[in-house]
Point group: C2
Chain length 214, copies 2
Amino acid sequence: MPDTVRSDPSPARNPQRTRARILAAALKEFAAKGFAGARVDLIARRAAINKRMLYHYFGDKEGLFKAVLRRKVSQRQAWADTLTGDPAETLTFWFDAACDDMDWVRMLEWEALHHTGKIIDEKERLSSVARGLERIRQRQARGLVSSELDPRQIMLTMRSLTMFPAAFPQLTRLITGRTLHDPKFRKERAEFLKKIAAMFRPTPGARDKTNFLK
Amino acid sequence: MPDTVRSDPSPARNPQRTRARILAAALKEFAAKGFAGARVDLIARRAAINKRMLYHYFGDKEGLFKAVLRRKVSQRQAWADTLTGDPAETLTFWFDAACDDMDWVRMLEWEALHHTGKIIDEKERLSSVARGLERIRQRQARGLVSSELDPRQIMLTMRSLTMFPAAFPQLTRLITGRTLHDPKFRKERAEFLKKIAAMFRPTPGARDKTNFLK
DNA sequence: GCAACAAGTAACCAGAGAGTTACTTAAAGC
DNA sequence: GCTTTAAGTAACTCTCTGGTTACTTGTTGC
């Protein structure tokens, strides 16, 4: 009868659930302690599964790490495509996302520190970036964003502005005197980012080169 | 005769040199692999000293990590005080510093990931930040930087813009298509940062509130 | 129903790696 | 000079931890 994917809630065996549990536990552990600091036994215990299953599904510790990273990255990519490319929107959206999902930022940070040239899921990520750049170019073409600025540099800058506080919470506290999760900080930063976003608009005086388009 | 600090080049014993060697080797190892990933034996071997000395001078692995971090941080603080607070100068200076001294950026990154509330050398760092904020306020008072913007947010933003590419080299490559150390990237980013710096100037139209000062 | 295979378990193992013990030897103070 | 202290060495220990072996049991296709 259960010809396709089963869905009853409590079967004795359930590979999907087991896999999901491992991934969730591994995300927590890796995000918190990184690859070298994470403990496989702890992941297994937190997932309430036998350690052997972890090796069954993911090969080894590194396979699990990659799987976790891959999942997080693709999750976020889906979000990215819902945006229009408007600087103000993009900045506030990603700033909130970074603050609300530190695990994501931290995984990227661990990736950065691990980084040895090869990037996981490079193809998908590159095309995601390409789509984002296209949205920026469209905005430039419509005269909503200054064409003086290189789209790639704009995007890198957006990421910097939004992710940095979550990536370096200690510096954020040192500089602003507030915790990352302090609502006051969130509000102040969000307001500041709006002002910054306005700076990306073409300067009214200098006629934008894009105007020849329409 | 050697009443004060000795300086002859090759004495059989030399605590200063040993300490320095350990710190240098530890910086490399910790910056590369982080606290959990670093191997004490390797540090000892790279420093060409006996592992026991490492424990003699620094207590344990964590003590060594803290010593390394402390040293790097205070080193950089000295640099910071040579700056005037001009956005263009600050941005290009710190951007170059970050690219040229990845170890420093990486140590801050490891610190961030380690981060559990307590910050090393908090006092000194806070006063260093305070001095930096003062420089920004002076610039605002002189009408060189927009007073619309919160100095703390400005500083946090400067750090973001300059450190991010070095902190996330994989994202930098994904977005710009260039390696962090590619001279073309360095040049493009430096130029972009100059444009950004200009945006921090008071808008000519809106008379700045600071004008009442003179 | 019944192979065949995948899901799951418990106990184990080998090696790595932080930290120690017990010792020797150079330098500083008197 | 000689004692005391700090610098330095070699070998060791013992826990922690990634990965495995050898097994049982539920599911599924036929």
